[in-house]
Amino acid sequence: MLDLTFDTPTPKTIAGAKYDWELVIGMEVHAQVASKAKLFSGASTKFGAEPNSNVAFVDAAMPGMLPVINEFCVEQAVRTGLGLKAEIHLKSAFDRKNYFYPDLPQGYQISQLYHPIVGEGEVIVDMEPGIARRVRIERIHIEQDAGKSIHDMDPNMSFVDLNRTGVALMEIVSCPDIRGPEEAAAYIAKIRQILRYLGTCDGNMQNGNLRADVNVSICRAGQYEKYMETQDFSHLGTRCEIKNMNSMRFIQQAIDVEARRQIAIVEAGGEVHQETRLYDPDKGETRSMRSKEEAHDYRYFPCPDLLPLEIEQEWVDDIAKTLPELPDEKKARFVGDYGLSEYDASVLTAEVISADFFEKVASTAGDGKLAANWVINELFGRLKKEDHSIEDSPVSPAQLAGIIKLIKSDTISGKIAKDLFEIVYTEGGDPDAIVEARGMKQVTDTGAIEAAVDEIIAANPAQVEKAKANPKLAGWFVGQVMKATGGKANPKAVNQIVAQKLKD
C-alpha cells in the first residue's frame, strides 16, 4: 500500500503586544455510538422521539435497577479504536462519576476513568495536499450520556427529558498536539470522517452526536518542542477547557478568542487559572463556568454493579477483519491506482459514498482521471447548485461512465458531453441512446468537414487574407465551422483542416 508522505504544518502564532505566541490544543471528542439501544439498557436511542418515551427503568434510576452492558456498544468502541490505530485493552473497567443534576437520574455517570477500553492511537489530520499533522490519541473510553434539561418552556419550572440518558458515548481524548484553530477544525473533521467510515458514529454535530471539549493554552516559540521532547507539561502554559462545542466554526472562533484572552493576561503579568469555560458566540467571548476551586469533586470509584469488562483477542481480531478501508488508505490508493492528484483524492474520499461512486464510474469508464474530473467538477458542482447530496444524485455511476466512454471514443466532444450530462441529469436516460436519438455524435468524416471549411473560406475571402498573414486568426474559421456543424464536428479534425486550407 502506498503511504502518502507529508510535511508538518507551521503552528499558528498570534502576535501579542509584546511577543508572538503559539497555541497548544488538546481535544476531548464525545461521539455518540451508533447503536439502536443504550449502553446499559435496552431502551431505544432514536433521535427526536416524544420526550421521556425512550426510557427504561434503569435509565430513570428506579430503585434496585441494574446496568447490563450492551455488547454492541463495546464492539463499536473497539472498532473505533482499531480505526484510530490504537491499542485495544482486553481488560477495562467502569467507574462512577458522581454529581447531582436533574438530567442525571442515577446521580452518577458510568464512565471509564481508571481503565479505558482503548489506549494510545493516532490520527493524521490533513491540512492541504502534502501537509498534515500527526495527532496522538491518548485514550478512548465509553460512558453514558446525560439527559436534557429544558429551562425555557415555563417561567417557573424546568423540564427533564431522559431520552438521551444512558445513550452510549465514546470519549476520544487527544494529546495536546493540535497547533491552531484550523487544525482543531480539521482534527474534528478527520475524526468525524473516520467514525463515519467505520459506522461507529453518524457524526451529526447539529444533533449533538459529535461534540468536543477543547483545551487551549499558549506558549512561546520553542516551548512546545521542549514538551514534546520530555512530555513534561510544565513547559506549556496553563490550559482552560472550553466545554461542549458542536460547530466547527465556533470551535475555531472560541480557540482564537480564548488564546487572545490568555495572551492579554500573561502579557499584563497575570496568570491563567485552570478552569472550565463556555464560549458565547453572540458576544464572541469565553466565560468562566467554574473555577478549579468550584470544580466538582466527582468522587470516582469503580462501579460495583459491573464486573471488569474482559474481551478476547480473537474477538478483536474478528472485528479487525471487518474494518473497511479507511480514508488515508483510500486516498493513497486513489493517488496510486488512478493517478489522481492528492487534492482530488481527498475530495473524493471525504465520504465513503462519494468514493464508492467515483470508483464505480472509474472502473466502468476505464479512466480514473476523467472519472474524477467529471465526478468532482460536473456532478458535485451540479449537485451543490441544487443543494443535493450524492445520495440523491439523479445521475447514476453507470450513466456518468457512459458519458465518459462516449468522450473517450471520440463519439462526442467535451462540449457536447456537457450538454449530454445536463440532459441525463434533468431527464434521465441512457447516454448512448440519447446521443443516437438526438444526433449529438461528433462529425469525424473529414470529407464533410472539408466541405464545410471550403464553404466558409469561399464566403470570406477578406478573412482568408488576414489569416494567411496572421495564423492566430485561424481560430475564427474553426469557430465558424463548429457553428455550421452544430458543434458536432471533431474539433481536432477541424483545426487540422482549417490550418491546411489556409496554407494552400
Binding site: F57, A60, A61, M62, P63, G64, M65, L66, P67, V68, I69, R96, N98, F100, Y101, P102, P105, Q106, G107, Y108, S158, V160, D297, R299, Y300, F301, P304, D305, L306, L307
Partner: protein, 495 residues
C-alpha cells in the same frame, strides 16, 4: 386447624401435598397472627388480598400435582425488595408512597414457585442499622423478652422485621438481605436461622441497593431445612444482574444428611475478642464440642486481618451507599420537599434529602462522600479495598489448608434493649457486625443458627462460614450443629 402459622416450610409443604391443609388456610392463619401482632411492628404493609389470591392459585397448582416446594408457603418480604404495585420504601421517608412498576427478581422467583406474600417487613432505613431503630416506620420489636422483664428488645437489624415475624410465627419464613450481617445478627437475636449465600448467588435486581458489592439476599427461616428449601428457590443466574453467577443451583435439601465426619472446622483465634461476654465464649466452645462429637476435625486457624474488617467495611459500605443513594433526589419519585419562593434545584436537593433521610442514613452518606473525595480517596477507600483483598485472602488461605467451614459466634451480645444504644457512640452499634462483616467483605456464604439461651433467657446464635458456592455443604454442617444443639425454645407470647 389452629396455629397453622407455627408450621415450618417443610412441614407445610408435606401437609399441603397430603391435602391436610390448604395454602389459603395457612395464609388465613398467618394473616390473623399478623393482625394480632401490631405490637411487634414487624409487618409495615399488609397485602391480604394479594395473599389470598396467591394462596388460591397455589392450592389449584398443588391439587394439579407437581408444584414446587415453596408453592403455597406464606412469606413476609423485607421492605428492601421492590414488589410490583405494593409500597416498597426501604423503610425510608424518601420513598414514601413509592410503588414499583416491577417485581424484584427474587420475589418473582418465589411467586413463580407459588409462594404467597403476606406483606412487607420492617427494617432499618436502607438496611443501615443493627437494631431496626433507624426505620421510618418506627422499630420492630423482638418477640423475646428477658424473662419477666418487659423491656422491649431489638430484633436486630437491618432485617429486624423479618426476624421478628419469623420468630413470632407471623409467617412461615421471610426474605432478608445482608450487607454486613443484616440477616445473621437479627436471626441470632430472635432464635431463628438465617443464611447469607455467596455474593452472586441471589440476584440483586429489584432490591434497593445499599452497598452493591456487599449486598446479598437470603432466607430467614425457622430451621436449617427450611433455609435449604427457600434458598434454593431464591438462587439462580440473572442476566439482569451483571454480578450474578452463572452456576447451577443444587438441591440443597438433599444435601442435609447430618453427616459431617471427616470435615475440618476452623476456629479463628482472632474472633476471641476483648469484652465478649463469657456466655458467648462458652456457647462457642460448646458448638465446637458438638461438631467434634459429630465427627468433625476441629483446628485452630488464623484470619490475621480480622481486626481491620470493621473499619474497612465502614469505609466501603458508606462509599457505595453515598453513590447508590444519590438517585433519591426528589426529581422523579418518592418524597420531594415543599419549596419556598425563589428556591432552586440546590435547595430542592438539600431540603428533600434532609427531610427524607434519617440521621443514620445521612451519617453514612456523609462518611461515604468524605472517603471518596479528592485527597482522601487513597487514604480511605483505596486502603479499605486493599484490606478487603487481604481479608479475602485470609479465608482463601485457610480453605486451601483444608478447612471446610469456620465456626464463630454470630453476635457479640444477645438482643439489647431498644433505645439502650441511643446515646452511645455510633461505633458501638457498628460493633454488632464484628463477626459478620468479614463474610460480606470476602463474599462468602455464612449462616447463623440458634444454639442456646443466655442467662436472661435470650437466644444466642453461632455462625458457620463456608467455602464460596458451597452453600449445600455449609447447610449440612449447620444441620448437624442444629441437631446437636437441639434448640427448640420459642418466645412466650406477650403481644
Amino acid at each position: 386447624m389452629a396455629d397453622l402459622n407455627n408450621m415450618k416450610i417443610a412441614e407445610a409443604r408435606d401437609a399441603l401435598r397430603k391435602g391436610d391443609v390448604t395454602s389459603l388456610e395457612l395464609t388465613e392463619s398467618c394473616l390473623s397472627a399478623i393482625e394480632g401482632a401490631g405490637a411487634l411492628n414487624a409487618f409495615v404493609h399488609n397485602t391480604p388480598d394479594l395473599a389470598r389470591e396467591q394462596a388460591k392459585a397455589a392450592d389449584t397448582r398443588i391439587k394439579a400435582g407437581d408444584a414446587p416446594d415453596m408453592c403455597g408457603i406464606p412469606l413476609g418480604i423485607k421492605d428492601l425488595f421492590c414488589t410490583k404495585g405494593v409500597p416498597s420504601q426501604a423503610a425510608s421517608n424518601i420513598l414514601k408512597g413509592f410503588k414499583p412498576e416491577y417485581e424484584s427478581k427474587i420475589t418473582s422467583q418465589l411467586f413463580d414457585a407459588g409462594s404467597v406474600m403476606l406483606g412487607k417487613l420492617n427494617m432499618d432505613e436502607f438496611a443501615m442499622g443493627s437494631s431496626n431503630e433507624t426505620s421510618a416506620y418506627g422499630n420492630a420489636v423482638n418477640p423475646w423478652r428477658r424473662g419477666n422483664d418487659e423491656t422491649a428488645l431489638t430484633p436486630g437489624g437491618s432485617s429486624g422485621g423479618s426476624a421478628s415475624a419469623v420468630a413470632a410465627d407471623l409467617c412461615l419464613a421471610a426474605t432478608g438481605t445482608d450487607t454486613g450481617g443484616s440477616i445473621r445478627q437479627p436471626a441470632a437475636f430472635t432464635g431463628i436461622t438465617g443464611i447469607k449465600p455467596t455474593y452472586g448467588r441471589c440476584s440483586r435486581w429489584g432490591v434497593v441497593a445499599f452497598a452493591s458489592s456487599l449486598d446479598q439476599a437470603g432466607p430467614m427461616t425457622k430451621d436449617v431445612r427450611d433455609a435449604a428449601i427457600m434458598l434454593e428457590a431464591m438462587c439462580g443466574h440473572d442476566p439482569m444482574d451483571s454480578t450474578s453467577a452463572d452456576l447451577a443451583v443444587p438441591n440443597f435439601e438433599a444435601m442435609l444428611t447430618g453427616d459431617i465426619k471427616g470435615k475440618t472446622i476452623g476456629i479463628p483465634r482472632e474472633y476471641h475478642m476483648d469484652g465478649i461476654p463469657e456466655e458467648i465464649e462458652s456457647l462457642w466452645a460448646e458448638g465446637r464440642k458438638m461438631l467434634q462429637d459429630a465427627g468433625a476435625k476441629i483446628v485452630d486457624i488464623s484470619l490475621p486481618h480480622t481486626k481491620y474488617a470493621l473499619p474497612a467495611y465502614y469505609v466501603i459500605a458508606p462509599a457505595e451507599a453515598s453513590s447508590n443513594l444519590a438517585r433519591y433526589d426528589g426529581v422523579r419519585y418518592g418524597h420531594r420537599a415543599t419549596l419556598d419562593a425563589g428556591d432552586g434545584i440546590t435547595e430542592m436537593y438539600e431540603k428533600t434529602r434532609a427531610e427524607g433521610f434519617g440521621h443514620e442514613v445521612q451519617r453514612r452518606v456523609m462518611i461515604g462522600t468524605y472517603v471518596l473525595s479528592a485527597g482522601f480517596y487513597d487514604a480511605y477507600y483505596n486502603r479499605a479495598r486493599k484490606v478487603r483483598t487481604l481479608i479475602k485472602k485470609d479465608f482463601e488461605d485457610v480453605f486451601a489448608q483444608g478447612v471446610d467451614a469456620i465456626l464463630t459466634p454470630a453476635t457479640p451480645t444477645s438482643a439489647f434493649g431498644l433505645g439502650e444504644m441511643k446515646d452511645a457512640d455510633p461505633v458501638q452499634m457498628y460493633l454488632n457486625d464484628v463477626f459478620t462483616v468479614t463474610v460480606n467483605l470476602a463474599g462468602l456464604p455464612g449462616i447463623a443458627i440458634p444454639a442456646g439461651l443466655d442467662k436472661k433467657g435470650l437466644p444466642l446464635g453461632l455462625q458457620l462460614i463456608g467455602r464460596p458456592w458451597e452453600e449445600g455443604d455449609l447447610l449440612n454442617t449447620a444441620y448437624a450443629l442444629e441437631q446437636a444443639a437441639g434448640f427448640v425454645a420459642k418466645p412466650a407470647k406477650w403481644w
